[in-house]
Every structure is written in C-alpha cells, then in structure tokens.
C-alpha cells in the first residue's frame, strides 16, 4: 500500500529532476560563479508563474474542456487599476491590493456567467472575457506609466534571508493551495467533478457552485500576480501578462497534473516553473540566438512531458 502511495506521488518528480539538471549544467558552464545569482533570479521569476499556475491547476482539475484563458488580461487589468488607485502613495498599498482582488472576483464571476448562462465552452468564454478585460485595461491605462508606491516596489524586489519576497508569497499561496486540494472538502469535490461530472452530481456534489468558486479562485490568483508583477517591474504595461497565458498552462502540464482532470498536484508547479525559467537562462548562457532558443525551449518541454507521460499512460 505504501508502494502505491509513493507511486501516486511521483508525477511531480520529473519536473524537479529536469529543473535540477538544467540548474547544474548552467552553473557548471559558468564555472560555479553564477550559483547564487541564478538561483535568486530563478526563484523570483518562477514565483509569478507559480501563482498563476496554481489558479490554472484548479480549473484544469475540473476536467476536460475547463481552462481559463483570461489570465493575462486579468493580470494586466488588476496591475493597471491598482497602480492608478495607489498613485505612488504608500498609504494606499492595502486599498490597491483589495481592489486587485476585487477585479479578480469580478472577472471570475463574469467568466462563469458566460460559461453557464450563455452555455459557451470555457475556452471561448474566457477568451472573449479576456478581450473585454484587455480593452478595459487599455481604457484605464491610457498610455501612462505610473510607478508603484516606494514601499511596495522595494518589498517586491528585495530578499528575506536571501530568498526573494515574491517567492515567499508564492510559497505561502502554494501551501494554502495544497491544503485546499489535499485536505479540504472542496479539493475532493473538484477532483470528483474532474473524474466524472455526472457521477459527482449523483454523489450529491453541487457542481455549479464548485465550478463557480474555482473560476473565481483562478481569476483572483491571476489578479494578485498582476499586482505583484506590476510592483516588481516598476509599473504596469499592457502586454505584461502576455507570456503567462502559455506559461500558466505549461507549468500545470509539465508539473504532472492530468490534463484529463481529476488528478493534480501543487509541488509539480514549482518544479515546472523553476524549470521553465532555467531553460531560458541556460540557453542564454550558451549564447544562442532568440530563434534557436525558442525552438530548443519547445523541444525540451516536449521531452519532459513525454518522460512524465510514460508513467501516467497506465490510466
């Protein structure tokens, strides 16, 4: 029985193994001088992927067809709105945070309203939602670049015990998500829905309520990530969320969460996020051009998914 459990806990191993291999080769190439710097940069940038990845993971757990494509637009809107409201004043930091969360809740509710009321598949509903949200962001932003409050931006860019603050926040969110997924009634419910929506219904699970909460949760995490990213990079930009669309999905898949739903894990998202950043910096260190870098990134991702997928083929 213990054998079964360790086997079940395995899917995330692969993403960590890949991350470690890439880290070692990069550090070895630079003769060990980059070890600390590389680790800190990786943790910082991985933190943002982790936060959106956790949200996306909950949605993907709901089963085939469930996905949230409004993540980048949500990040952009919450970042721009929060910075505008805070207006460089340290006293407004909390108000800005609450506003970002509110933006997330509103977008999540909008997403599920489209899915449920208009019976649009989630992939299209969240994509159309993201157009609305992006237009909103353009309208509020109007091309000006407001700086984040001083205290907030120094918090986002500094370290505690040598670990980036944003990584600590990502760790806190991940622990909460893990408890939610593994220990709570809600976690059982989304896993049940992901395995068989009809069976879940007949087992007395409120499907609509659970799915609604999940879409809201995903949007709130994206909004939170947008708030942090805008503070970290010294201002919100309209394209700041763009790379997180593919990233949020890729880290979930590479992390060993079943795309078919019902089976997910939080640690894998860490491994995958670290790996994704490390691959890019490794190829940079080797001095490859942008084109070769993208091709190699793609190939490496495919290799990792194949290696991890061999295990899951048992299903």
């Amino acid at each position: 029985m213990n054998g079964m459990r360790t086997l079940g806990a395995k899917p995330w191993i692969w993403s960590f193994a890949a991350a470690v291999i890439v880290w070692v080769t990069t550090v070895w190439f630079t003769g060990g001088s980059s070890a600390v710097g590389l680790s800190q940069a990786t943790l910082t940038f991985a933190a943002f992927s982790i936060i959106v990845g956790v949200g996306q993971m909950f949605v993907i757990t709901l089963g085939p067809g469930n996905i949230d494509l409004s993540v980048p637009a949500t990040m952009t809107l919450s970042g721009t709105v929060a910075l505008k409201v805070m207006d460089v004043q340290d006293s407004m930091i909390l108000v800005g945070l609450l506003l970002a969360i509110f933006v997330g809740i509103a977008i999540g509710m909008g997403n599920y309203a489209l899915i449920k009321l208009l019976r649009i598949p989630p992939i299209i509903a969240t994509l159309s939602m993201s157009f609305i949200v992006q237009s909103f962001a353009i309208w509020t932003n109007r091309g000006l670049r407001i700086k984040p409050p001083e205290m907030l931006s120094s918090f986002a860019t500094s370290y505690t015990f040598g670990i980036p603050n944003v990584a600590l926040i990502a760790l806190l969110i991940s622990v909460l998500a893990w408890v939610l997924l593994e220990k709570s009634v809600y976690g059982r419910r989304i896993s049940a829905i992901g395995q068989s929506s009809f069976a879940a219904r007949m087992a007395g699970i409120p499907i609509d309520g659970t799915r609604f909460v999940t879409y809201v949760l995903c949007s709130v995490l994206a909004a939170l990530c947008g708030y942090l990213l805008a503070s970290f990079s010294g201002g919100a930009a309209l394209n700041m969320g763009a790379e997180y669309l593919l990233m949020s999905i890729a880290v979930v898949v590479i992390g060993g969460t079943a795309v078919a739903g019902g089976n997910s894990n939080v640690p894998g998202i860490w491994g995958a996020s670290l790996f994704m950043f490390l691959v890019v910096s490794m190829l940079n260190t080797y001095g490859f051009g942008a084109g070769v870098r993208l091709i190699l990134t793609g190939l490496i991702i495919i290799a990792v998914i194949l290696a991890a997928g061999g295990r899951k083929a048992l299903r």
């Binding site: 029985m1 459990r5 896993s191 068989s196 007949m202 699970i205 609509d208």
Partner: protein
Amino acid sequence: MNESVPKPEVAAARGVKVAFGAVKALDGADLIIRQSECVGLVGHNGAGKSTIVNVINGGLSPHEGTISYGGVEAQGISTARAHGIRCVFQELSLCPNLTVAENARVMHSDLKGSGWRRRGLELVTQKLDDIFPGHAIDCESVVEDLSIAERQMVEIAISFAAVAEAPKLVILDEPTSSLDAGLAAQLMAYVRRFVGSGGSVLLISHILGEILSTSDRIVVMKDGKVVADRPASEFDTRRLVEAMGSVVRHQGWERAAKAHSGQPVLSVQLHPRSSHRLQAFGGEIVGLAGLGGHGQTEALLEIYLSANGNWWPTKEPKMAFVAGDRALNGAFPLWSILKNLSISSLKGLSKRKLIDPVREQEVSERWKKRIEIRTPDMHNPILSLSGGNQQKVLFARALATTSKIVLMDDPMRGVDIGTKQEVYEILRSEASAGRTFIWYSTEMDEIRLCDRVYVFRDGAIADELVGADITEANVLAASFAGGAAA
C-alpha cells in the same frame, strides 16, 4: 390454415446455447420460422429474445447448436442476408447524417451503378406509400431531421424493400415502440399482406394485443429457453402472461403489513399519463418494476435532481443515489476505496471545511466490516475491487450519509448471488430503522422484496401493487399493454 403439409423452413435455430461469461443468455433454444408465416416472440427482459434474433441474423455465433437457412446449415451475417434475412432493430440503426436514399444504399449493396440515388429514392418512397399510406415523410431529407417515429418507418420500409432479391424473412424487434396506434395498425396490416404473399415475419413486441392478432404462431421464451410454441389461436392474453411467468415460486421475506400513518416522505406526480402518484412512507421499500427502459431510471433521476441543488451544498442531503452503471455514474476511477466511500458524507466528517482523516478512516472501516468489502486495505484503488465489491462501496457511500431516502437504479446488475443476499439483509435492517428505499430492479426476485411496487410502462406508472398482490403474474400483466384486461 392447412397444417397437414409443413411449409418449407426459411430459417431455423436448433438447440442453440450462448453464454456471456457466467450468464446463460440462451440455454438450448429452438426457433424455426417457416415460409409465409408470422411468428410472434414474447418473453420478459433477459429471456433471450434479442440474443436469438442475433443468432438468426448471423451476428452472433452460438457456442452450441445449429443454424440453417432454407434447410442448409450456414453461419454469418452475409450468409444470412444472402438468404433474404432482414432485421429491423429496436435501437434504430440508420445513419443520421445521410439522406433516406443514401441509407437505403447502406443496407442494400445491390443498389449500385449510376442513378442509384434516384432509384433508392423511388424504392423507399414506394415502399413507404405501400406500408404507411398517407405518410408525410420527405425522402430527400437527412435522417437527422426526421422524428423518431419517421425514422422507424423509414427503417421498416428499407428492410421490406426489394432491390435484386425480395426479402424472405423480416425480423421486427419492437417495431411499434415508437409508432402511434394508427401507424402500428398500418404496419400490422402490411405484415399480414406480406405474409399472405409468401414472406415470413418474426415479430417481437411487448404489446400482446399486436402479437395475438398478427401472429400465426407464438413462441414464449423464458430464461434462455423456449417454454411454449403453439398456434396463436390457442393463446389469449391471460394464458400468454402465465406462460411468461416463472413456474417455481420463490419465497420473499415476510412483509410486515404495516398500515401507513402520517404523511408520505415523498410524493410526486411523475408523468402526466401516470395512473398513480409515486408515494413513499418512512421505513418503506418501494419497488419500481416493469420492463427495462420504460422510464424507471428517468423517474429516479427526476426525483433525485429536483431534490438536490446544484449550487450550494445542502446541510443534510435529503436523498442519496446508488448507481446501477458503475462506470458511467458511480465510481471515481482515480480514487481509493476510502475516498469513493466517503465522498457523499464529507460534510459530517469535516471540521471547518477540512476533512478529519481519523473519522473518515473510522467510517470506512465500519462499512468495510458491515458490508464486507473484500480488500486488505481501504486505501487501495477502487478499480482493484471486483465489480460486486465496487457496487458494495457505492451502497456504503449512500448508506453512510444521513439521507432519509435512498434511490437505487438497478444496482444489482451483474452482482453475484452471495453479495446480493448480504446487501438485501442490510437494506432490510436499514429500512426497519426508518430509512426509505426506492428501488428500480429488473429482477423479479428483488421486486418481491418490496413493500409496494409501481409498475412502469412507456415512461408512466401503469399500476400500483401492494403487499400480497406483488406477484410476477401481476407485474407482468401490468408491464404488457393489453395485459391489464386479464
């Protein structure tokens, strides 16, 4: 009819045995169809009617026994077709994305060469006019756009149509189930004309009136055997129902003939045509009987879905549901036995929304012992269990809740007899403790365990039986249209 000289055989199955695993679908059945006669085939669910049809049309090779067409032993679908055997299936088999003429081409490979579309169209139109005069079917439309009744009519017309060779034997499996009375009468009249002109028909129907008025000879099947094979004139509705019933009387447990006091815990009007409201009192086992697929599962789903909300978790769910089709709506394949068992009662097992693992373990061990789930460890995956034990987990899932009403959708399908006895025992003790069970079953032995039984026919409740009236004969009589008069 002059029976002194036997007419030549069209198709014959002799001493046929077919087994699916441990289930004997056919246990030495004989069925002979002669030229220019209509044979009626009746029997309750699982009697082996569909299996013997599949043997005769060549779709299924028997494990024992012989098949012959026109006196020549042969086997296989193409051989059967070459001997003029045609079959109209109960579940419609037209391709919905093709037109009527194109479907005719699918069934008749002789329809070839240039202009096959036009000829197919003429062929089907003419046959439809012939069988169902006054029909309004546009044969150039795609099958998808036709109603269920129209599709059935088209399929019948295509089967009776002759391209190169006229059909010799047409098997009609429940052909009138989706036709109204007028169309059914037209079809039966055509069957008589077809038989009169030398063709043969094997007619399967649960409408006994149809069988009695149209057939020359009636074959009654039960438990994979032919139990009666006599000219139709020797039968009437009552005798037919008796022939279908079981010979050996099993003993049900003794029902406490309790008088119901107070309000029913459940009372619903299911279908506008239902003759009774479905009612259930506390501590009662209510059976839903009738032939399979006559609306019992739909009734259970309707009752369940209207009682359980889809948005907010209810504090104390009013009803629990035991699925009959484990793979479709029961087990969660990725989970352990433990998680599968506790999913419906997590509310009572958690503190501040977090599951208490100790109490979850306790509950699962208690049910493991009580319902005897055969596994060394409840953390093993659910799929490591045999089908019967998986079913027990689903029972335990429902019984572990605090729900006062438990709905059961034919949960004993494919469960061995030992497991059944264990579960019956638990149902009885739970019922005497005040739980109400609503139990759809296709097995007569289980229906006899119920305190009250509603017999379903065509999606509506046709009859209510209480106490000593719950007998196989009464259930069968109510299940078959026309049987009510007996």
